[in-house]
Each structure stands twice: as C-alpha cells, then as structure tokens.
C-alpha cells in the first residue's frame, strides 16, 4: 500500500527545520522524503493533498488514561484511540491504573490486542510498578516487558515507599525501560484540592503546596542517581520542581520530564474565574502564573523534553458534584494540538518546532522508540498533518472521547490536526475517523 503526501511543508523535529516537500510511504514505512519524493510514486498510490499544511512525524502522547478495563463508562480503548486519531496522535502510551490494574503480562497483552483490533493508532501499555498499585510489592516487571510494556508507573498514586521505588528503578533498568514517577507527598497533599497559594486562601479551598511535588521529585532523582535507573517525571507543574530536576541533572542524574498542555496555559486563578468549576480540578493542580511561566521557559530551553496530555476521562457524575468531591482530571487528546497552537505557537511564545519536538522526538527518545518521532527514510510511516489556519470552537459534544471534562470547552482556537496517518494508512482527515 502506497501513500503520497503531497504539497506540504515538512517539519523535522531533529533539526528544527521546516521546508516544502512530499512524503512517500510504502508498506508502513517512509521510503522517500522531500521535493523529489513524488517522482518515486507509482501511479496507483493514494495521494493526500497537504497543501498549506505542516507535515510532522506522528504525534506521540506518552501519558494517557484509557480506563479500559474497568471504567469503560468514562473511556475505553476504542473510544480513546478514536480520540487520539482525531487529535492527531499516532501513538499513545496508556497508564495501568485500570480495574483490574495492568500489573501482569496478560493485562498488557489484553490492551495491545484490543488496540490492534481497533486498527487505529499505536497503543503502548505501561505496567504498574507495584502489584495492584498497592505500593508494597514489585509487580512482574520482566514478564510485562516481554508482553510489550513500554515503561512502568503507579501513576495516579505516588510510590510512597522509597525502598520500593529504588528497587523498581534498579529492576526496570535491566530492560532499559523508564520508570515514570508520579511524584507527590501524600501527606502534604492530603485533602488538598487546588494549588496552595493566594487563590486557595481566597477561595477557602485546602491547597497543595509546590513542595508536595518537588520534594518527592528530589527523592526520586536521588534514587535514580543511586541506582543508575531511567527516571521520567510525569506532569511537572511547578518552578520548584524544575529547579530540583535541574539541580539533579547538574549532578549527572539521567532524568527526563513532561508537562501537560493545561500546565502550560492555565493558572489557579481559573478556579475563581469559573466559580469553582470542576473542569479546573486536576492533579497536579493548576498552578500560579509564575509556575506557568517557568514551564514555558523549560519547554523553550529544552529542560522539559516532552509534552504529554495526561488525558484523564471522567463522566459527568464523577465531575458534576461539589468541588471537594469531584474526581481529578482533564481530557487532552483532542485539545492538545489546538490549544498549544493557539496559545503558544501563534502568539510566538514557543516556536512550532519546539512544540512538535516535545510531541514527537522527545517522547520517542524517552520510550526508546527508534523508528518513531522522526521524519526520515526508514522510519515508521506515522505522520500528522497540521493546519495552522483553521479557526474553530472547541465543542466537547463533538469529541470522539466518551468524556467531556475539559476547561477548554468553548475556546475559540486556531489550528488543528488535519490528518492522522498511522503505518502509512490515513486514519483521520478533517475530523472524520477512517477505519
């Protein structure tokens, strides 16, 4: 099967350049790139017109909650992969905090097989660090690697037991898989529902101070130093946390980190502005304006290598309650691209190659995906076409996802993923899923 993407501008995240060119894909691989690629195409090739659009390696979201198995009313592998395709993502990595937990090989296989049968985007399951997410005993990391786990995390919960974290880092290092740390001091964060700061004091909501995150990051980085393990810090949200990571790197610690689109664009003031709307409730919470500035600076200077949405679907019943009782989480697969383009790229706060690198090469490197995240001959034909002109309004009622919990509802945005190509097959164009 041959696909020619014609007339677009190719964005290579490795070099950061954007230049006109075509892409020829055959049998799931990129076989030619650049101005001459069209010449190599046979006349029966399917042609996708990319005029006026930017062609990037397929976007990778390495932090997604699919809720399947166990909470399929919020999302399942089918709807989640549809949401990914609609949002321009060709590969997603999903967290193991399902019911039952993905803590052994059979569950890893289940997710992979289910995703493969839906035939849309690549799904890489993470395995949990501890059995049943109980934070006590190491899960069967080795067996899960054999079954295809991309990394390990107890995300949703921190690994409070330092000895367990130490062992997890040592063990996962054997297989070259990253341990993804949800770093949170549960006592400091206890009963907290938003960021500890002026706004939490004004609104009378118990706050979670930055140190609840940064303190644990420090511990996790030191354990990474001790064990030589591969540590990736999930959803960094504070300036304090970035400082800790920077300090750890200055000591030679190998640690990568990711930030969510909402931590790059929204502040804790939104809780007041929306009158305590629970679509602002997320863990880590929306932080202060200076934290958001620090996240943007970290993205620009490369200290944050990855943008990951932490797509966290919740049903209306989970969210439409009093603020303290509402579940934490914001969906992101279908809002990441338009929000980042509208708030970061178009106003010139962060250039497009930097944003795209954080959504392609960055996560590919962390996860050791050698054939993804890059625009080069021989890479997997996972591609995303971006239309930077299209103006529209984010309407959750039109989402592929089963859930609607986004603070970006109603936003007027500019830019979207005009097409999603996975393994040389077009799975989405113009918002329509092609199965």
């Amino acid at each position: 099967m041959t696909l020619l993407i014609k007339g677009g501008k190719l964005l290579d995240p490795a070099s950061g350049t954007i230049s006109p060119g075509d892409v020829l894909c055959r049998d799931g691989k990129i076989v030619a790139l650049g101005p001459d690629a069209a010449n190599m195409a046979a006349h029966e090739a399917e042609v996708l017109d990319a005029t006026g659009q930017i062609v990037t390696p397929g976007l990778i979201d390495m932090h997604v909650h699919l809720r399947d198995p166990g909470q399929e009313y919020k999302e399942d592998i089918i709807s989640g992969t549809r949401a990914a395709a609609a949002g321009g993502f060709t590969t997603i990595a999903c967290m193991p905090n399902t019911a039952p937990v993905i803590d052994h090989a059979a569950m890893v296989s289940f997710v992979r097989e289910r995703a493969a049968s839906s035939g849309l985007v690549n799904v890489l399951p993470y395995g949990s660090i501890s059995k049943n997410l109980a934070g006590a005993e190491l899960a069967e990391i080795g067996d899960m690697v054999v079954a295809g786990a991309a990394g390990f995390s107890d995300d949703g919960k921190p690994v409070t037991n330092g000895e367990l974290m130490r062992n997890a880092l040592r063990y996962a290092k054997m297989y070259g898989r990253p341990v993804i740390a949800h770093s949170e001091d549960m006592h400091l964060a206890e009963d907290g529902h938003m960021h500890y700061g002026t706004w939490s004091n004004v609104l009378g909501v118990r706050g979670i101070p930055a140190v609840a995150e940064a303190g644990m990051i420090a511990r996790d980085c030191m354990l990474a130093e001790l064990t030589g393990g591969c540590l990736h810090v999930a959803h960094v949200s504070t300036e304090l946390s970035l400082s800790v990571i920077s300090w750890a790197r200055s000591r030679g610690v190998k640690v990568s980190c990711e930030v969510t689109p909402h931590h790059l664009t929204l502040t804790d003031e939104l809780v007041s502005l929306t009158g305590y709307h629970t679509n602002t409730k997320v863990n880590p919470p929306l932080r202060s304006a200076s934290d958001v500035e620090a996240m943007l600076a970290g993205l620009c200077d490369g200290s944050i290598e990855v943008i990951a949405s932490d797509h966290a679907p919740h049903s209306l019943d989970d969210k439409d309650v009093e603020y303290n009782f509402a579940a934490n989480g914001i969906i992101g697969l279908e809002t990441t691209v338009p929000v980042l383009l509208t708030k970061l790229v178009i106003p010139g706060a962060v250039d497009l190659p930097t944003v795209i690198r954080a959504l392609t090469l960055g996560p590919a490197r962390v996860l050791g995906l050698e054939t993804k995240g890059r625009l080069a001959v021989g890479m997997d034909a996972d591609l995303t076409l971006l239309d930077l002109e299209h103006r529209w309004v984010i309407d959750p009622a039109k989402f592929q996802s089963k859930s609607r919990n986004t603070p970006f509802a109603g936003w007027e945005v500019q830019g979207r993923a005009a097409a999603t190509i996975v393994g040389g097959r077009v799975v989405q164009t113009g918002g329509q899923i092609r199965v």
């Binding site: 700061g197 002026t198 004091n201 009378g204 909501v205 309650v321 009093e322 603020y323 303290n324 009782f325």
Partner: protein, 308 residues
C-alpha cells in the same frame, strides 16, 4: 432586579452598590423586629428553603425567622455532608426542592464553592449561609450593619479581626466587605492559623493581638474550633487563651469607644473573656438582631419583586 446578581454567594464578588443597598434596606426593615406584631405581608406565597448540611442553630433560625417575618413559608432541611455523598447527591436534592416550588435556596455546606455549584444549576436564587472555609456573606453584612449603626459609616475605620483566620469564612467575608467599604483591616492569629499572602490583599497580618487591636475602632473576635488543636495546629487551648484571648486588658488597647463583635457561639474564656463579652463595648446581641434584618433585606431584594 435591584441586586446585580440573582444569588448572594460572596462579598468578594458583590459590588459595593449591592452591599450598600442591602444594608440600607436592612436598616429600614429592622424596625419590624421591635413591633408587637412582627409580620409584614410582603413575601406571602413565597417559599424559602433552608438546606443545612452543616449543623447550625443560630444562622438557620435567623434565616427562618427572617422569612417568616416577611410572611414567606419556610422549609428546613438538615443533613450531614456524609449523607449527601452516600445518598442523594446535592445536585439532585436541590433540583427536587426547586421542582417542589421552592422559590429560594439558602444553603450551608462543608465544601467551599458548593453554593457556586448550585447557583449554576438552579433557576431560583441561592443564598450562601456558609460554604466550607470560603465565605459567610450574610454574617459579613450583618457585622458591617452593626458597625455602621454605631459609627455612621465603615469608611476610614480600623477593624481588627482576632482568631483562626485561616479556617474562617466569617473572617474572609468581613475582610472583603470591609475593605470594599473603605475600612482598613488587621488580623491577628498564631502563625499556623494565618494564611499567607494577606498583605498582597491589603490586609495587615499580625501574630500578636496587642499589635492588631492597637487603636482599633472595631474588634471582631472569631470562634476557635477545638478541632484545630486536635489537628496539631495549636499546642493547647490553654496557650491560645493566654496569648490570644480578647480580654479587658487587650481590648483597652483599642480606642475607648471601640466596638466588640463576635459571630457566636462564644467559647467564653478561650477566645473572649466574659467580662468584655458582657461589657459595655459589646454589641454581640445587636449583631443577632441585625442578622435577622439583613436576611430579611436580602429576601426582600431577591424575592420581593416581579419574577424575571
């Protein structure tokens, strides 16, 4: 509608024009409480629902009487916040009450922002009788009315609030209402009970009562919840009383004609001494009367006119 919003949720969000209108109306209505027949027919046929998910006798009774003096019918529901999470949700309870013909919902709830949540869902007005540690707007208003009746105006006064400011919705409502009306506000509490960032909000924060009440025109004492000590925020009630109790010696540092307020109920001997609570400067009982007047005024302004 005379008020700019259909609901009364917070003083931080209430324009000063609304605050003044409520206080002026309350002044006019207050006289009804001195009559032998405490009844005016204004809200006849209206039903006011009080929904208290946190125990309170005084505020609930005050609202109920305010409604009854205006000839409205009242329905009172008490529940616990845990019953709400286990049983029928708050959302469904509120919808049900509105569907039964309730014209207005007065709610006290343990979670900050819960009144905002309901106000978004309901057609009828929602009055916040205290939400978590966020605000208690009617208390702030009755405190302001009490001060106004004695001092003529709130503007230019120095008000000292003593007590657990961190957890106090009364303190918050008063801080916003008083500063909006032109008073300068000082607070005093042990450091563990004082929120950060108050100076950025224009409030002078002290850890010494003596410093805060110096030359104050008004001293407002907050109730100390005994649970604070259980949670490790205070070493003991004894120490709190020794260092923070507003007694005659400390009150004497304020102006000689300074007013003494307390939202009640009082822990005599802990945050306030009986001597000053019952003394000449105390207006604590007037606060209670003014509270009914303020609530009558709010009900009149929200329900007295034509349906929107």
């Amino acid at each position: 509608m005379p008020l700019s919003s259909r609901d009364v949720l917070s003083l931080r969000e209430m324009p000063i024009a609304d605050i003044n209108l409520i206080l002026e109306t309350a002044e006019s209505l207050r006289e009804i409480l001195d009559r032998p027949i405490k009844k005016v027919p204004t809200l006849r046929g209206k039903t006011v629902v009080t929904f208290f998910a946190e125990a309170s006798t005084r505020t609930r009774t005050s609202f109920e009487l305010a409604a009854k003096y205006m000839s409205a019918d009242t329905v009172s529901i008490s529940t616990s916040t845990s019953a709400l999470t286990k049983g029928e949700s708050l959302k469904d309870t509120a919808y049900t009450l509105e569907a039964m013909g309730g014209d207005c919902l007065i709610m006290r709830h343990g979670v900050s922002g819960s009144c905002h949540f309901l106000a978004r869902l309901l057609e009828s007005p929602v009055i916040n009788a205290g939400d978590g540690t966020h605000e208690h707007p009617t208390q702030g208003l009755l405190d302001m009315l009490t001060i106004r009746r004695h001092k003529g105006t709130v503007e230019g006064l120095r008000v000292a609030i003593v007590g657990d400011v961190f957890h106090s919705r009364v303190a918050r409502s008063n801080m916003w209402g008083l500063t909006k009306a032109g008073a300068s506000v000082a607070v005093a509490a042990p450091a563990t009970l004082l929120p950060d960032g108050l100076s950025e909000l224009g409030i002078d924060a002290y850890t010494s009562v003596e410093d805060a009440v110096q030359d104050a025109d008004v001293v407002m004492v907050l109730r100390l919840q005994r649970e604070r000590q259980a949670k490790g925020l205070l070493p003991s009630l004894r120490e709190y009383a020794r260092l923070y109790c507003v007694n005659a010696r400390r009150l004497a540092l304020a102006k000689p004609d300074a007013l003494l307020l307390h939202p009640g109920p009082m822990n005599r001997g802990i945050e306030i001494s009986s001597e000053v609570a019952d003394g000449a400067q105390s207006v604590i009982l007037e606060q209670v009367t003014n509270g009914v007047a303020v609530r009558m005024a709010i009900l009149y302004l929200l329900l007295g006119g034509a349906a929107e």
